[in-house]
Point group: C2
């Protein structure tokens, strides 16, 4: 894979600014002389978190349901959002957790890094688990946000994610990382 592993950019230009992302084109050549123009979607990094609440009934997960404009429908998700410039991703998810759900975490643990789409997206998704969550305040939502908060038993979350109509790929991937972290993979 040595040859394909190294492409060099020879020219780049901005194609479109779309507020939450921008699109650029990149002219590239490979070490063995292939060339092409590749379109890229650039966005700030994103972070998402699986918030765990320990109850007498076992572990519960805080989930949210909100309208999403890409699919044009409601979507079941874990809390999360954009990592602001210069912000630590664990700080970002702690903030988003509290803003979106009112819960705060005792401890935020990294689960791993994912590429939302290595083919044409350049940013990184930071996955976390938030242990020992407690309800602390009311939601503080942005202008376009309207978010329903659900407290779901852990085993039901495993059944629901990627199964309710159709799933959110980043959330489903985060749940996989959570299950490996928790030792729930056979």
């Amino acid at each position: 894979m040595g040859k394909a592993g190294n492409w060099k950019e020879t020219a780049a230009s901005r194609v479109a600014d779309c507020r939450i992302f921008n699109v650029s084109s990149s002219d590239r050549i490979s070490e063995d002389g292939k060339s092409g123009t590749f379109y890229l979607v650039n966005s700030p990094d994103w972070a998402g978190v699986i918030p765990v609440v320990d109850t007498a009934l076992g572990r519960m997960i805080v989930m949210i349901r909100q309208y999403r404009h890409g699919t044009g429908r409601l979507c079941l998700e874990f809390p999360g959002g954009i990592v602001e410039k210069g912000e630590d991703a664990s700080i970002a998810v702690g903030r988003e957790l509290t803003e979106e759900t009112g819960y705060r975490a005792e401890m935020i643990v990294p689960l791993g890094l994912l590429s939302p789409n290595p083919a044409f997206m350049t940013n990184t998704f930071h996955a976390f688990v938030a242990e020992g969550c407690v309800l602390d305040r009311v939601q503080a939502l942005d202008e376009h946000e309207e978010i329903e908060v659900l407290l779901v038993p852990e085993n039901e979350a495993i059944d629901l994610v990627g199964a309710e109509d159709y799933g959110h790929a980043l959330m489903t991937a985060t749940l996989f990382l959570y299950m490996r972290y928790r030792g729930l993979c056979l």
Copy 2:
């Protein structure tokens, strides 16, 4: 969530054509009078497949490693690609499986549907498992494709996905669906 569940498009326009996707803007109003312009990334549907080879050493998964221009690095993935217009997604993954790896499947089983990113992507990812795969022919790659094929024990694939440097979110999500299908979630 009734109010937020219904936004109507009042105007739309094409922002950019980027070969493997296009970008559009959509002016929308909600039932309770909110309004906004939302940018959308539109692409054909994608399909991916976890190809299983039954051997004397247990279940093996066919994986591929290829250079990806979004992240600018090699990425470990399951086979897959674009669903052509009018094509059945299971046919698409069977075709991609054989082109990318040389393996063909005895049976292709749907694992579920995922949204790559419900916030701004409008397409659907179709996840499959390919049972009873056998090596049948040589790879038939597209112009820019250079693909290394790996045969990985199932338990190692579970360790590797989402862990090798950083993972491909769609592949990690597909693996979660596979584990639920296989009964590998505790």
